[in-house]
Subunit: 300 residues, 2 copies
Amino acid sequence: MFYIIGLGLCDEKDITVRGLEAVKSSTRVYLEAYTSILMVQKDRLEAFYGKDLIVADRDMVETQSDEILAGADTGNVSLLVVGDPLGATTHTDIVLRARALGIPVRIINNASIMNAVGVCGLQLYNFGQTVSLPFFTETWKPDSWYRRIKENLDIGLHTLVLLDIKVKEQSEENLARGRKIYEPPRYMSIPTAISQLLEVESTRGEGALDPDKTLAIALSRVGGHPPGDQPQSTDGETIVSGTLAELAAAPPGVYGQPLHSLVIVGKRLHYLEVDYAGEWARNKQNWRSVAENVYGCTLE
Amino acid sequence: MFYIIGLGLCDEKDITVRGLEAVKSSTRVYLEAYTSILMVQKDRLEAFYGKDLIVADRDMVETQSDEILAGADTGNVSLLVVGDPLGATTHTDIVLRARALGIPVRIINNASIMNAVGVCGLQLYNFGQTVSLPFFTETWKPDSWYRRIKENLDIGLHTLVLLDIKVKEQSEENLARGRKIYEPPRYMSIPTAISQLLEVESTRGEGALDPDKTLAIALSRVGGHPPGDQPQSTDGETIVSGTLAELAAAPPGVYGQPLHSLVIVGKRLHYLEVDYAGEWARNKQNWRSVAENVYGCTLE
């Protein structure tokens, strides 16, 4: 059997009991290490699972799938994926390859940002399409996400904005010289994300986003549990709500370590949701005022 | 600490290791038993967790939250929820109540249908808002979901349609006489769902749905793992794809036991997705033909 196992969002303890059993039954266990990151290091996973993990980068999952699948017809092989297994296309590829080889595949689901975003208190039913926001460079500022956010907002829906992660990037020089030297990983922060959102808004001027009239919720380390489960630790999940301008102006310490995601709030907003997410507002009075006066939400 | 713990989708082994530790540390453990169902009975959960479970129905979670929260300021209390904890509004209520009482709350995430729907092979990024389809009666045929499906389709997005569940319903007579006698649970099937979709399409005539031109994917027991993990068992997850007419015409045995969900496929469709979900097509040739000729998908 070829298992593709979701690890959930935080650390070694977020695997399911079913997933853990599959790992322990496997002769080889691969750890997919590019579409997202866990909040812990590989050695901690290895110690907990009692198994060595083989790190599988993008290249390997895409080009060496036969190697990964070897032996999965007679024994068990597992591929561990942060979050839920079927968020990224590349896993579709390897499942298609397994099918072609006649190898049975089993998916073991887990939480991913796509459903765990519910912790912000907005109904998942009222989210539209999810968008990814890539890092801008001087010369490359892709903005197809803008139209999608606007499509969502036009029908009252919220948008989950996934912020870019750059891991195993090479500098232009190293790439040109064929040197496999990688830059340190980079994770987009909330203020960078908002600055890019507003830059495109001001270029396109379609009025989808407004610094003072658009509400948003910044999510850091969703599903994160601080060591020892101390509720006051800053390493766990952090949620901050406010207008885009308020969130952009917050000091970086407010958001802390990666990963960060952002929710753009649509008009389909219930007063209980305003209360719930208002708990984390930079400015509680302004949060309620914008919800009432701009979003047209009737508060109790 | 008040823990709200997602159980995932299938059985006792879909809890996370973190969730299991929280259950074992709790003095009281409630099992929320109304917004969805697991595929196993309460006693199997109790045996596995080594804990008695207190069943909490809708009434109890909504009206007796103080009783549920009692003692969570000094010890641990857990509320178990099928899927992920924050899909349903009622859990927002109890979190707000806990906050008001100064009780710390921790959410332990898990898979839910909202992200596990990715097993159908369509990119989660391209899903729009999710809709719920209620059972029609002779006199009550709510259809606000139709506009939402159309909004999604108009911008090329897929729609996850959650099919109605009726548990703890009373007959009109028993309700009138105040007798707490409940009808057997009812779960909407794929053919019933499609018949309701097409009934409203023919009434409203806006052309969102077409029996022969709209592709859909029927999902049964998503995340389900057959006993003993035998891949051929019919009790596990089942996926069937086809046009609405093809899915409606399939014999019930094709879908098997509840729960069922339905995905209405939007135009934002990649040929790899057509291949992937085509594996489960009622008629593979027609699946590809509609994808190519109606959806405009360029197949390899």
